[in-house]
Symmetry: C2
Subunit: 462 residues, 2 copies
């Protein structure tokens, strides 16, 4: 068995070792791009299915738009192009011929989608318009890490158009709720929800909301974002509609996305020194059956039992694999006891081992899978609580940051320049202005001592 | 209601009108690329699901590989680069910086996938290796048509590696069977299966097999291909393995794909003057419920019945939509009769109308959907038979081609230059060397009068 570096020794190395042992990705000759291997891609497919079911209930329909975007399009929203320019991969040639107008590979699809929306939206009857696209996205990043930051990655991007600012605001939160629910119900992960500061707002948005999750090393990950684009892109792309009173109006747009980074989040938030720890809903294999053959004469009998059990679990919709690798039983996790018609169960999450009746075992296994989910979710909640500190001065802030890491809540004056100054000094950034603290008294800024404008959460991040 | 040009008047216009009315696509500012709108994309998702289920049974696993391919990679297989060079979109810039080595956008993924395979395959224990990728593909085509030929399209590409030539040959046919079955069981379409002539063989393959389907205008469509790459790419990419006798061997590769073109095939092979005609398995909406309110006082009662029926069908897994548009009943397809507790059914495929008992209607509707599938499949089979001719001289060939179109079977000498000559004269190409005629006596070549090498099928094609 390949060795996994312990998390406490070198978390980055633990991450790479773990992904290698789990066989979820491989490097490629394309800078920063990875192959997502079957065991990793299956998780993405399971995630897509969960998302699609929920989006359908929200009235969101899937469509696809071109990958290539005319370079000029990208310049229509001024802040937007500035935010993305250095990372844009640009197609300038076809065969040996130079293109008259270069195309960029989408780093996000607002511009190409809203160009279509402008043709589709005429009347209030066309609204709300809610579409989602599953797509590959291209951003030429300098520092990359499998799943967490790659030059090509996969995501979904929802783009909705509304008559009123209020509807758009509600949609931004509905999308954030979608992510919060999926992270909780599928990934068994809890995080902190809030608004981004202007420094961290999406290029072209009025405001950005996020769900920030903690990795086991105490660093934060932005697991998804949901943006209120207000009328910025509607104006830039000439989207307008006639309202109920025959008046010409400019609609309000939201967009929201999460990516293969969500899988990276899952890996770093649940993994331990044994490697990946996957919640059952996203695990490509939920149950591994390991036949243990102690005496040669039992082989046929055991094999028959194994096949029957495999079929029973599969028919019940459980993702099951039989591991017939010829290892010493000591290396395996469970034991068969044909005589007593029971089996040994080993839980990946708690390492508990116990015996289970073979007869009518399916409901017990479903209960077990649900219990594993709940137990992982509780761990996540506890980890989040334990690793969220509150401090009141910069000295304590630096101390917590260096010793414990995690989320650090502070009262904050709201000054963007000072936010950058703190980042330069400490590498920590404001992850969000948490919704949960919005109603609290704000107190004095931990950095300037002035009256605070808001409570924010700082962390070092991926 | 928008007008659809009759097929007999202008088939190309019929196609575009039909797709517009069905709302499956839209044009974009990117040359030859389309938006696939929700009603079209849903069909692709249903197709993916059907394919994934079958591929899983075949032991094929999904993965993803980079979209960008280093330009140099593409030159490793000489025929391969020659086949694709003029259509290659090339990324030369990132932001304002020129790339040291340009990347091409994949026009197919052999080179980038086999580069990974070379790292993954060491021993016979690693074989067979069977992976599939769902991907967007880029080919800068001069003449484009929605779904049938676009500069960006979607496909699946299966890539398998085998120890022996025999295994690879069997795999090529297994993949062709997969397509044949899906086309029959999901799309209700029959076609002709066979081998391509060298002129039409995939760039870099030993041979190519295909399933050729007829459009309603008598033109052929290559609906899928399955290629035997033999050892060409293994050698070019340095893929080798140690066999059971510790000897170093070069493996045999197959690849096979079908694309969003399959949906285009479906549209042109089943559609009629009323527009799209979708087999139930691929129809995003299988049943439309149209409440017909003749008297105002029935409104509530009817609405309740409609909601109950909708729920009953949905719970049974039927894709259902209630059409509440306020049209004159004459414009609608079915009628409610609350009093007699029955409903009017209108079949899209046969235009038949008949009454159905409301009580316990779900099994009857399932039967109906199955019957529609079978009826469409029979139509397809009959259309194929009626539009496949056999001729013995060039004069008859030209006459059939001009008057009836369709598939034309002939005995053929096998001369590639003459094949091109016939194409220049008549625009018809050899679609395939049908498997069904391989055992027949070959006779004399219809063009040269020489001893024929094989029986082939010609047609004009998309």
């Amino acid at each position: 068995m390949e060795q996994i570096t312990p998390q406490g020794k070198d978390f980055s190395q633990w991450y790479l070792d773990t992904l290698k042992v789990a066989d979820v990705f491989d490097y490629t000759p394309v800078k920063g791009a990875m192959v997502i291997k079957p065991y990793g891609w299956k998780m993405w497919e399971l995630f897509q299915k969960e998302m699609n079911t929920r989006m359908e209930e929200m009235g969101v329909e899937n469509a696809v738009f071109p990958t290539l975007i005319p370079e000029s399009f990208f310049k229509k929203e001024a802040e937007h192009v500035e935010g993305f320019a250095p990372e844009l991969l640009t197609v300038t040639r076809v065969g040996k011929k130079e293109l008259e107008e270069p195309y960029v590979l989408r780093p996000t699809s607002e511009t190409i989608i809203y160009d279509s929306y402008a043709r589709w939206i005429h009347s209030y009857r066309d609204l709300p318009l809610k579409m989602n696209q599953w797509a590959n996205i291209f951003r030429w990043e300098m520092k990359t890490k499998p799943f967490l930051r790659t030059s090509e990655f996969f995501w979904q991007e929802g783009h909705t158009v509304h008559q009123t600012a209020e509807e758009a605001e509600a949609m931004v939160l509905e999308a954030l709720d979608l992510y919060t629910n999926v992270f909780e119900e599928v990934f068994a992960l809890k995080g902190i929800r809030g608004k981004k500061t202007p420094n961290e707002t999406f290029a072209g948005a009025l405001y950005t909301t996020t769900l920030e999750v903690l990795a086991k090393d105490g660093k934060a990950i932005q697991s998804c974002t949901s943006h209120n684009l207000a009328q910025n892109f509607s104006q830039a792309f000439g989207i307008s509609f006639t309202d109920q009173n025959e008046e010409q109006k400019t609609p309000f747009i939201t967009c929201w996305g999460t990516s293969t980074r969500a899988l990276g989040t899952l890996f770093v938030a649940h993994g331990d020194d044994k490697g990946l720890k996957l919640p059952p809903k996203i695990a490509p294999i939920q149950v591994v059956i390991i036949p243990v053959i102690m005496k040669k004469e039992q082989e046929t009998e055991i094999e028959e039992s194994v096949l029957a059990l495999e079929k029973e679990l599969k028919d019940a919709g459980i993702r099951v694999k039989v591991d017939r690798r010829d290892l010493r039983p000591g290396n395996k996790f469970a034991e068969w006891d044909i005589a007593s018609d029971s089996m040994m169960i080993a839980r990946r999450d708690t390492s508990e081992k116990f015996s289970l009746e073979r007869n009518n075992c399916v409901p017990a296994i479903f209960d077990l899978l649900e219990d594993i989910h709940q137990s992982l979710l509780r761990s996540s909640e506890e980890f989040l609580q334990k690793n969220t500190s509150e401090v009141f001065d910069f000295e304590s802030f630096c101390e917590v940051l260096e010793t414990r890491g995690g989320f650090i809540k502070v009262s904050w004056c709201g000054d963007s320049d000072l936010e950058k100054e703190i980042q330069e000094k400490t590498k920590a950034t404001i992850r969000c202005i948490p919704f949960e603290d919005m109603e609290r008294p704000k107190g004095k800024c931990f950095y300037t001592g002035k009256d605070a404008k808001e409570i924010v959460v700082f962390a070092k991040s991926y």
